[in-house]
């Protein structure tokens, strides 16, 4: 069984031609009873491109990825996968279509070696019946190669994964998803808990995954992380899409001000000016930020 699985994994990994839309969402929405968590969201995820989903806490980011990951079914609009209207009923269904999600907690076992973590649940075996045993050398080799292809050069795949840095662990989780047949990778705030340098490392691997022809959905609330790697930006606020922009139509400044809720900030700056005086330090900095 496991032998078949690995074969399958390497076959599925063959990516679609760059630029083809793998996932398209059209005016998608989600209602929980009478609560509208998400409405009128449209964007696309293309092979070899990074689609960034930006929004503050409570903007609807997690509802959106749960629809893509198959954890929740959408209630309005259309979800097209390879051009076919689809409803994802479970994470497994999403996985079978090649949509893999890497959550914040990464699903790794800290005390186990890197290679055992990489293949956990999908181990490669050789031999028959009761003498079926793990193909340790093969799994170590694949782990090392796959990580190298992602640009992570590990000295020793035998070391416990807990000894890796947060960024490197994130990358092992990404490499694992890629190896087991992902065409689209959903990354849930991969840089949220990381320092500046580690975030840079993860961004590098996101670019690497993109260059390997995967479509990447990168969820973040930090425009400075999104802008360098993103090809397309979809902004969410209070459950509504503020638009879906290709990189060509957007500068980092525009992105930042939209994220911060530009108009709101401006009125706040005016208010501060009135109450604290136009030349107070806070009002000055606020104004500088907004304009």
């Amino acid at each position: 069984m496991s032998d078949k699985k690995t074969e399958q994994a390497t076959n599925v990994a063959a990516p679609a031609a760059a630029g083809t839309a793998v996932i398209e969402v059209k005016d998608i929405g989600k209602r929980y009873g009478n609560i509208i968590a998400l409405s009128d969201v449209s964007t696309s995820v293309r092979a070899g491109e990074v689609t960034c989903v930006l929004g503050d806490n409570g903007a609807g980011k997690s509802t959106f990825i749960k629809i893509l990951a198959g954890a929740h079914e959408h209630s309005d609009g259309d979800l097209l996968i390879d051009g076919q209207a689809t409803t994802l009923s479970s994470p497994r269904a999403a996985l079978e279509l090649g949509i893999a999600t890497v959550y914040q907690d990464l699903a790794v076992v800290p005390l186990m070696p890197v290679w055992r973590n990489f293949f956990l649940g999908s181990e490669i075996t050789k031999g028959f019946g009761p003498f079926k045993k793990l193909d340790v050398d093969e799994m170590k080799r694949i782990t090392k190669d796959e990580l190298a292809a992602m640009g992570i050069d590990l000295r020793d795949v035998e070391q416990p994964i807990g000894t890796l840095s947060g960024g490197e662990r994130q990358c092992v989780a990404i490499a694992r998803a890629v190896y087991f047949g992902a065409r689209v990778l959903i990354l849930d705030e991969p840089t949220a808990a990381l320092g500046v340098k580690q975030s840079g490392v993860v961004l590098k691997y996101i670019a690497k995954a993109r260059d390997r022809g995967l479509g990447v959905v990168f969820i973040t609330h930090n425009p400075h992380h999104a802008y360098p790697v993103g090809d397309r930006f979809m902004l969410l606020r209070r459950g509504k899409s503020m638009g879906d922009f290709p990189k060509a139509e957007m500068t980092l400044e525009e992105l930042t001000s939209m994220m911060a809720g530009g108009a709101e900030l401006e009125s706040l700056a005016h208010e501060l000016e009135k109450t604290m005086g136009a030349d107070s330090e806070i009002a000055q900095t606020m104004k500088a930020d907004v304009t």
Binding site: A107, V109, P110, M112, F119, L120, S122, T125, R155, Q159
Partner: protein, 344 residues
């Protein structure tokens, strides 16, 4: 674990010694050697074939249980009913054959089925209720102890099985579970061979099979294991059944080596199994440990148990020694774990 195909010029060749020092069982190995040398030097019988025969036999039954308990602990759970199980299974065979005249091999199979059932119940209760296995198996421990004491008395009016050797086909079962081979002037009991076999199989399963990978993962980080598709429920219930099965094996070994079993057999031993597993490198928190280590822990126990007798000391010193051993091992394991997690 040789890394024949994976070499990297940046790794300075790690010496075999350094590699060995990273194994979880290294502490137990060193302690076992020290203890052997100590008793061999201070007493005259300890290192002779007949002397070794006695402490090997003592270590073997403890060792089989310690190995099974170690697997369970690596999987993140405890089984306090493991000790009472060894008495329970022996009593079932004893009562069914001597009192009700059931065929001895049929009785042995009935006993195995009941043991596996108790293990299954332990596992399902722990997984379905989410209660700590410490509490659930403490419950089964008292239930089994009660059945062993009151049930036996009610059925045969005694607290020990008698007349076992008169049961038909007793010899055929004794050959499997209770015979001994004369090797170099000392008797090596069947239980010693069973112990070696159980340790070898457990080590192979842990390090070289998918099941082993799953055992480490459910003990190390259960939610992660579940997310990634490891059958957590099956793995854990299987571990509880394995421990119960080992309890049955030891029950048979005790019954057919001594040809009797008492109502209180095994009670109080459950903590010794855990101590042996911890001395052998198992973490109390799960996810780390070794079957060979647990076997070595049992060897230490067997050697000290008998060495104290040979030295003519008060036998009760054994308890004090066990306590010191346990604390020392826990401290050592914590240190090793921290090194494993942060090394490099």
């Amino acid at each position: 674990m040789t890394t024949a195909t994976v070499t990297d010029e940046r790794i300075a060749r790690t010496s075999t010694v350094t590699k060995l020092l990273k194994r979880p069982e290294i502490g137990a190995l060193v302690a076992a050697i020290v203890i052997f040398v100590f008793f061999a030097a201070t007493t005259s019988v300890f290192a002779t074939a007949p002397g070794a025969s006695t402490w090997l036999r003592g270590a073997s039954t403890i060792g089989i249980m310690a190995v099974a308990v170690a697997l369970l602990m690596i999987g993140g759970e405890f089984d306090l009913s493991a000790g009472a199980m060894t008495g329970f299974t022996g009593l079932i065979v004893g009562v069914l054959t001597t009192e009700y005249g059931l065929n001895i091999w049929a009785a042995i199979l009935v006993s195995l089925a009941l043991a596996l059932l108790v293990g299954f119940i332990n596992g399902v209760l722990v997984m379905k209720t989410g209660l700590p296995s410490f509490i659930v198996t403490l419950g089964t421990f008292f239930v089994l102890q009660g059945i062993d004491l009151a049930g036996t008395k009610a059925l045969i009016g005694q607290v020990a099985i008698q007349g076992m050797s008169n049961v038909p086909y007793y010899d055929s079962a004794k050959k499997v579970f209770g015979s001994a081979a004369d090797i170099g002037g000392g008797l090596v009991y069947a239980s010693v061979f069973w112990w070696l076999a159980v340790t070898a199989i457990a080590t192979w399963v842990l390090l070289r099979t998918r099941t082993g990978n799953w055992i480490f993962s459910v003990g190390g980080q259960q939610t992660a294991a579940r997310q990634i598709g490891v059958p957590v429920f099956k793995t854990k219930v299987g571990l509880f059944m394995t421990t119960a099965g080992a309890g049955w094996l030891v029950g048979m070994l005790l019954l057919f080596t001594t040809s009797t079993v008492q109502s209180n057999t095994g009670v109080g031993q459950e903590f010794i199994y855990i101590i042996c597993a911890v001395v052998g490198g198992c973490l109390m928190t799960g996810g780390y440990g070794s079957a060979i280590g647990a076997a070595l822990g049992a060897l230490i126990y067997g050697m000290v148990n008998q060495g104290i007798v040979y030295s003519g000391w008060d036998n009760n010193w054994l308890k004090a020694f066990l306590g010191v051993m346990l604390l020392g091992a826990v401290l050592l394991n914590e240190w090793v774990r921290k090194r494993a997690e942060t090394a490099r």
